[in-house]
């Protein structure tokens, strides 16, 4: 495949950004969730 580095790089960048943002999102949610009682979590 021509230009494989750029093509694979674009996929790695996209999926890497998703994973990093998902990791941060879950981590923040869990940290805050431990400090707030369940009755204040409207999704429960």
């Amino acid at each position: 495949m021509d230009d494989a580095g750029f093509i694979l790089g674009s996929y790695l960048l996209t999926f890497g950004a998703m994973v990093a943002f998902a990791w941060r999102t879950i981590r923040i949610g869990r940290r805050l969730g431990r400090q707030v009682p369940d009755e204040e979590k409207h999704w429960r």
């Binding site: 960048l13 998902a22 999704w43």
Partner: protein, 258 residues
């Protein structure tokens, strides 16, 4: 003065339950992962090379869904901002949804810009040109970085919501300018292949299907992110309120007015 902090509810072992996930978000997350795997298969293996772009067309299968997601996120931000500003109750739920959506949009607009640069390096021979589409896209990105900066300013939740809602409603007006920049000005960037104004879709069926898979996958990703982030923002606001209540109670106790 005593230092007061909100109570820690639960232990690390309860972290999963204590977070922002529900059965619905887990289902959405799994569906998104499956669709992303399909996208990778179609984008990198099954779809054909393009007559003009060659293999570089494969970048389109992540670039186009990324910009779709960013546009979707910014439109949702505007709709939720309107819900806050014009709703009878001025609900902070709308504000948090707007903020969460803008965050996701900024991340994917950054992905769009960088994946577009990689495509430009192959197709045009340069990473960046001060072309109408690229420049307006960069301005749109910076506008929403500004939106997020305004959200983090000092003030009450209601003040934050009102300020950012106004910006969320103004910034979304840039999207038509970005989309039609390739027609309004002479641009290196190609016109829209699928969502063009002539409604004339000239694209190989497998390429169109790969793009479709990408758009569905990224829409699921958006939904997952926005639900988690808006819930995390609700938790953060709740913590702020409790800190304020504790500080007021401590102050009253100190002055003997409690």
């Amino acid at each position: 003065m005593t230092t007061t902090t909100p109570t820690d509810h639960g232990t690390a072992s309860e972290a999963g339950r204590a977070g922002t996930g529900t059965r619905a978000t887990r289902v959405i997350g799994i569906a998104a992962i499956v669709m992303l795997a399909w996208l990778t298969l179609f984008g990198l293996v099954l779809s054909p090379a393009d007559r003009d772009q060659g293999e570089a067309v494969r970048i389109m299968y992540v670039h186009v869904p990324s910009v779709w997601l960013a546009y979707l996120a910014f439109v949702v931000t505007a709709v939720a901002s309107a819900g806050h500003l014009f709703g009878r109750r001025h609900s902070l739920g709308f504000d948090r949804f707007a903020g969460a959506s803008a965050e996701v949009g900024v991340v994917f607009m950054a992905v769009t810009l960088v994946s577009g640069m990689l495509w430009g390096r192959i197709t045009w021979g340069v990473y960046w040109q001060w072309d109408a589409r690229l420049t307006t896209t960069a301005l749109l990105f910076l506008s929403y970085v500004g939106y997020l900066a305004v959200r983090s300013l000092e003030g009450s939740h209601a003040q934050r919501a009102r300020r950012s809602a106004v910006i969320g409603l103004l910034a979304v007006l840039e999207i038509p300018l970005v989309h039609w920049s390739v027609r309004l000005w002479r641009s290196l960037h190609q016109e829209a292949t699928v969502l063009n104004t002539d409604l004339d879709v000239q694209i190989d069926g497998l390429m169109l299907f790969s793009l479709f898979v990408g758009v569905i996958a990224f829409s699921l990703v958006f939904l997952w992110f926005v639900l988690h982030r808006s819930r995390a923002m609700a938790l953060a606001d709740s913590m702020d309120d409790r800190r304020l209540d504790l500080a007021v109670a401590a102050r009253r106790a100190e002055t003997g007015n409690g």
